[in-house]
């Protein structure tokens, strides 16, 4: 469903992402982990078409992003970590706007818009301007709009930022159901509990390179240790020292 082949992104002499290859299958919820500055957001921005890869290939639902961007982007839903929106629109107008730029007549999608606003609990705030929304409300609106055009692949950067526990639980359920209906989610997160609880497979990126890939048990055997994802993650990314010193302080 989502295929990255030898993906590389260079900023001058600095290689933010190096030769990254992976495949997210249909129905799979894939977690993309890594320490700060490892290349997660760069990778996600390349998949969303916001950054151009220096080399390599991205395929979304069978469409090459470089060769057929319209089809590829049409099959993709994107939820960024920071929800910058059109502040002067109301939630309902924003949803209609998104429907329009994906080529749908908003009238046809009215039912679906209502359903999604209901789902993210913004129905009562649908007529209010986005500028009066809290961060969490904006994040929920972005999530609703990302599902509007019924994408096949959802790419999410830090889904839990700004969400309250209720919102976080809702999002986890929505992602799971989305995958269960044969679609895929590629999610980058620092919340390791979420990754452990939700993801079918996990990829760990370190200094631009994929250092581990597999199910939770695959990662444990690679790290040659038992324990939770946090411990495995710290072992694989060389962060034990940080954890110990943090605990000590």
């Amino acid at each position: 469903m989502l295929r990255l082949e030898s993906l590389t992104k260079r900023y001058g002499a600095h290689e933010a992402v190096r030769n990254l290859s992976l495949h997210v299958r249909a129905g799979e919820l894939f977690g993309f982990l890594g320490p700060n500055g490892a290349g997660k957001t760069t990778t996600i921005k390349m998949i969303a078409g916001l950054l151009r890869p220096t080399s390599g290939r991205i395929e979304i639902a069978g469409h090459d992003l470089a060769l057929h961007p319209v089809e590829a982007k049409g099959a993709l839903g994107f939820i960024p970590d920071r929800p910058f929106l059109y502040e002067k629109l109301s939630a309902l107008e924003f949803m209609r706007f998104v429907a329009g730029i994906y080529g749908f007549d908003s009238g046809i999608l009215n039912g679906r818009i209502d359903e999604l606003l209901d789902l993210v609990e913004l129905h009562t705030a649908r007529g209010e301007l986005i500028e009066s929304f809290s961060h969490g409300m904006k994040q929920r609106l972005v999530i609703a709009s990302a599902f509007l055009h019924q994408p096949k692949v959802m790419v999410v950067d830090e889904p839990m930022v700004g969400l309250d526990p209720k919102g976080a639980r809702l999002i986890k359920r929505v992602f799971r159901e989305f995958c269960d209906s044969g679609h895929s989610v590629f999610v980058s997160t620092h919340t390791l509990e979420v990754a452990q609880e939700l993801c079918d497979r996990i990829g760990i990126i370190l200094r631009g390179e994929l250092v581990a890939l597999g199910t939770m048990s695959d990662l444990k055997s690679k790290a040659q240790m038992e324990g939770d994802l946090e411990e495995v993650f710290l072992k694989l990314t060389g962060g034990e020292g940080f954890k110990e010193s943090e605990v000590a302080s």
Partner: protein, 569 residues
């Protein structure tokens, strides 16, 4: 004075800004340096132009002994009053951003930084941000006064002593007004109110100056009014205004007299007193004001349902993508008060423009067939320039106004080509209407021939396409997605380049049309038919105009599209 209010503590708080400027300079790329160089060159040319203008006027009035002293006094007073007024207006708006809405304030306010030090640092920042343009404008003005003064160095010394406290006083008063407003109203309301008020202030200023009807000076019959006009120059302005204190110091220096101590003492002591007063006021009000700045505006209904229904209905026939973008742009525009203030200025500009033409012809004792038509032809250039000035604000900004929400469009299946063309078609109709109104009405007032009116109307029709294409294309090539209000986009180096490109384009069109217009008008005047050579020259020139306009639409649009596609966000 509070001990916490020390230069060292203020310097420490300003350090991140200074380092930021230094780092930006260090990491500037070639394009940034080129832009800076271009901006500096244009600023230098402007300064030179201002200097030359003032220098000529001062030389001219120096010839009339009885008027020289009162006129110079009045001119210096006008400059000081202008500086004080503009600085007051700009400080009130700037202080809102630097002292209440800036992102780094949450860190500073939550840390144990003494309030007086914070106030002092922000006052310096407000002063620098609100006054740099006025100070730059003042340099060539005072330089012209200095070189025509009895003792140039003495005059410059007087400026160095009397001008800085004037700037300080304006900044302190402006900051205090903002502090008072912020303690009473929510930040967004204050911001909207101030932006509207400052626009109204400028509109009023434009009308007041225009309604003085300076063109009457050209008419010998109004000489009685002129004498009256000059008589007003000797009237002193209010002695309580700081601008009057600055003026009296400068006037004394220009006349080669010793500098008066009283106004200088008043300027510096008032400045110092206002800094202390502002500090006390900050102690009392800053906490309340900053807290209010964090409060969101209460949720309200999205808009007037009637307007909304109207917009929905009129955009219904369009294709979904275009309709979506158009509706979004219209709604954003109508709900953004910074846009209203710009619209107010635009309306004032158009009214003054047409008023000028309605007034001038009656004074044309020298109006002839050729002159009338020449004015009509030159008016084409003026209308083109006005159009470019409007377009830099409303068309050039159209791509950048997507702001940080641009990711929504980039990650969607909407191509950049479609986006740019939708911006083009959305901007074209209002600008076509404006250009036609400007051209046809001004030609009517000028009493131009039907031929000139039709030629102007058709030419401006083409020129509007070019100006809009150039605006959308260059706006996409020089996007500025991070801005506080849209006026910053038009004032960017890209906006400046656009103005240069659009003015050159209008000049090129006029150059191409000058020959056929002359040939056709000559034949008309003599009552002779056009020669075949004249017909060929006219067809060639007009064909070239059409080609130039097409290129001015297509090439910048392509350039903008490729730049936008290659851009990484």
């Amino acid at each position: 004075m509070n001990l916490e209010f020390t230069p060292a503590s203020i310097g420490a708080l300003l350090d991140p800004y200074l380092r930021g400027i230094r780092n930006r300079r260090r990491h500037a790329e070639r394009g940034d340096r080129l832009r800076a160089l271009l901006f500096a060159s244009v600023a230098f040319l402007f300064a030179l132009f201002v200097f030359a203008g003032f220098y000529r006027v001062l030389l001219y009035i120096g010839q009339f002994d009885e008027f020289t002293a009162p006129l110079t006094h009045r001119m210096l007073d006008t400059v000081s009053t202008f500086v004080l007024t503009v600085l007051l207006a700009s400080t009130v708006v700037t202080a809102l951003a630097t002292q209440y809405l800036s992102d780094d304030l949450s860190l500073l306010v939550s840390s144990p930084v003494p309030l007086p030090a914070l106030y002092g640092a922000r006052l310096v920042l407000t002063l620098l941000q609100s006054s740099w343009m006025v100070v730059l404008f003042s340099v060539p003005v005072y330089a012209a006064f200095a070189v025509t003064a009895a003792s140039p160095l003495g005059f410059l010394l007087a400026v160095a002593l009397a001008f800085p406290p004037l700037v300080l006083i304006a900044t302190c008063i402006g900051s205090m007004v903002t502090a008072a407003l912020m303690s009473a109203f929510p930040a967004r309301r204050v911001r909207e109110m101030l932006l509207l008020l400052s626009a109204l202030f400028v509109v009023l200023l434009v009308f007041l100056i225009r309604m003085q009807q300076p063109e009457k000076l050209l008419n010998p019959r109004s000489i009685y009014d002129v004498t009256e006009f000059f008589a007003t120059f000797s009237a002193p302005s209010s002695p309580f205004l700081p601008s009057a204190w600055t003026t009296s110091v400068l006037v004394a220096a220009r006349n080669g007299e010793s500098l008066p101590a009283m106004p200088l003492a008043l300027l510096w002591s008032t400045g110092a007193a206002l800094v202390v007063l502002g500090c006390w006021m900050a102690r009392a009000l800053y906490g309340v004001g900053y807290s209010r700045a964090q409060e969101s505006r209460p949720a309200r209904l999205s808009s007037l349902p009637l307007v909304d229904r109207f917009l929905e209905t009129v955009t219904r026939p369009f294709e979904p993508r275009f309709r979506s973008l158009l509706l979004k742009d219209l709604r954003t525009f109508l709900r953004d008060t910074t846009q209203w203030s710009q619209l107010l200025l635009l309306v004032a500009l158009v009214v003054v423009y047409l008023y000028n033409f309605s007034v001038l012809p009656s004074n044309f004792t020298f109006a002839t067939f050729f002159l009338q038509n020449m004015f009509s032809f030159l008016n084409l250039g003026l209308a083109g320039f006005v159009l470019a000035a409007v377009a830099v604000r409303f068309v050039f900004t159209s791509v950048s106004s997507e702001g940080r929400a641009f990711w929504i469009l980039r990650s969607s299946p909407l191509t950049m080509e479609k986006l740019l063309w939708s911006k083009f078609w959305a901007a074209l109709p209002p600008l076509l209407l404006l250009s036609q109104v400007l051209t046809i009405a001004s030609n009517h007032f000028l009493g131009a021939t039907t031929f000139m009116t039709v030629l102007s109307s058709v030419t401006i029709l083409f020129v509007t396409f070019g100006i809009v294409g150039l605006g959308v294309g260059m706006g996409a090539a020089f996007p500025k997605f991070k801005f506080e209000n849209v006026t910053q986009i038009a004032g960017s180096s890209g906006g400046l380049l656009y103005m240069i490109a659009a003015s050159s384009f209008v000049a090129a069109v006029m150059f191409l049309e000058a020959v056929p217009a002359y040939l056709i008008l000559s034949a008309d005047y003599r009552g002779m038919p056009l020669t075949s050579r004249a017909v060929a020259a006219s067809v060639f020139s007009l064909g070239a105009v059409v080609v130039l306009n097409l290129l001015t639409v297509v090439l910048p649009m392509r350039w903008g599209r490729s730049k936008l596609e290659a851009m990484e966000i």
